[in-house]
């Protein structure tokens, strides 16, 4: 019983042991030095200039930001312009491809209807119209020279003109007629003035 009481009295918990750490305190002298040192450091902080490289970076940062903004705007302009040009080019090449496909598919029809093109003068006017309306008209890979030769046509006739002539000759003829009329009217008008 005595031993048991003695054991209870000598029991020490971890929490109690750790509270001993609270007793590890600096002296007043330490705090005096601490305060002096801290005030000195605070004053240094107040009057201290930034290192030279930070000052340079800070000076440059404004110019860098301006240059960056201008460069970004220029890049946006170039991208927008380039994109629109690319889109137009793509549309045009798509048109060309469509025409080429149409020509290729109508090649056999052209062969059959070549006998209908008897007048070389009509073909010249049709070709002229076709050239003026389709600037980038490209016929690479569809060389109709042999075909035109065999049909007794001029060598500079291309497949496109043959195609247009065979299917839309009437329309082109009427266009030519209306254009001529317009020229006539203009000349009349100029005479009136």
């Amino acid at each position: 019983m005595v031993d048991k009481n003695n054991e209870t009295e000598t029991k020490v918990s971890l929490e109690e042991l750790l509270k001993v750490k609270r007793g590890e305190r600096p002296t007043e002298q330490f705090w005096g030095e601490f305060d002096r040192e801290l005030h000195r450091k605070m004053l240094q902080t107040l009057v201290k200039k930034d290192p030279i490289f930070i000052q340079i970076m800070r000076g440059l940062s404004g110019r860098v930001a301006q240059t960056g903004a201008v460069a970004t705007m220029a890049a946006i302009c170039v991208i927008t312009l380039g994109r629109s040009l690319w889109t137009n080019g793509a549309e045009q090449s798509a048109d060309t491809q469509t025409f080429a496909e149409v020509d290729q598919s109508s090649l056999s029809d052209t062969r059959l209807s070549k006998g209908l093109l008897e007048n070389a003068n009509d073909l010249d006017s049709v070709l002229a119209m076709a050239d003026s309306s389709l600037v980038d008209y490209e016929m690479a890979g569809l060389d109709g020279t042999g075909l035109s030769d065999s049909a007794g046509m001029k060598r500079d006739f291309t497949m496109e003109s043959m195609h247009l002539a065979s299917f839309d000759s009437g329309a082109y003829s009427s266009d030519v007629a209306s254009i001529s009329l317009a020229f006539v009217n203009q000349s009349v008008a100029s005479l009136v003035y």
Binding site: K11, L14, E16, L17, K19, V20, K21, E24, T27, F34
Partner: protein, 210 residues
């Protein structure tokens, strides 16, 4: 100290408004933000011992603790303009102290230089030492020295995160929620770390614990 006590008296006497410690600190912080550098001294005087104790118990080195405590106040002084009072000043400055100490401990790595503060006489003559003396049959002076070394050594064996929780809870007496806010961890994480850390310490200090 003067500023906080003056503010406390003014408000409690005239407006009958009970101001918390947090409110008083916020008043002083606003003064510093308005340009009163001297007002910052009040905050230094109020928190320097607590901050020093936390850092000292984390590093077990009085010189490092002194430097880190000063760094903590310098950092707080430099950043006080950005302090918006969302948390208490107490939490904010403890967080600065803990983060600075963690960074320091990572740099220090495994190199440990121990330099202890002397244990206060009030504590060394306390009842716990009487019990330990009678238990271990050791002379009190030798026991104090031995225990201090063993305690610091055991704390240093813990990981910095576990040490932080033990120091803040068991030595500084902060509650779980406060520690969670300072360490930016959940209360559950704090409890779990504390439980694990205490298990570790119990095994290190088994010679002294009944």
């Amino acid at each position: 100290m003067d500023i906080t006590s003056t503010a406390s008296k003014t408000f409690s006497a005239t407006d009958e408004v009970v101001m918390t410690d947090r409110d008083l600190d916020w008043l002083v912080v606003q003064k510093v933000q308005a340009g009163s550098v001297g007002a910052f001294d009040a905050l230094v005087q109020k928190y320097r011992e607590k901050i020093f104790a936390v850092i000292y118990n984390m590093t077990s080195n009085r010189e490092d603790a002194s430097d880190l405590t000063q760094d903590t106040f310098i950092k707080a002084f430099q950043a006080i303009g950005r302090f918006r009072g969302k948390s208490s000043f107490f939490t904010w400055i403890y967080r600065i102290a803990i983060n600075s100490t963690m960074t320091f401990l990572k740099k220090r790595n495994r190199r440990r230089y121990i330099s202890y503060e002397k244990i206060d006489e009030e504590v060394s003559s306390s009842e716990i030492f009487e019990r330990l003396t009678s238990k271990t049959k050791t002379e009190q002076g030798a026991l104090i020295k031995e225990l201090q070394e063993k305690l610091n050594d055991s704390l240093q064996k813990l990981s910095p995160k576990h040490r932080t929780v033990v120091v803040l809870h068991e030595i500084e007496g902060l509650d779980h929620a406060e520690i969670a806010e300072i360490t930016q961890a959940s209360v559950g994480t704090v409890r779990s770390r504390l439980h694990y850390a205490k298990q570790q310490l119990q095994s290190y200090l088994k010679d002294y614990i009944s």
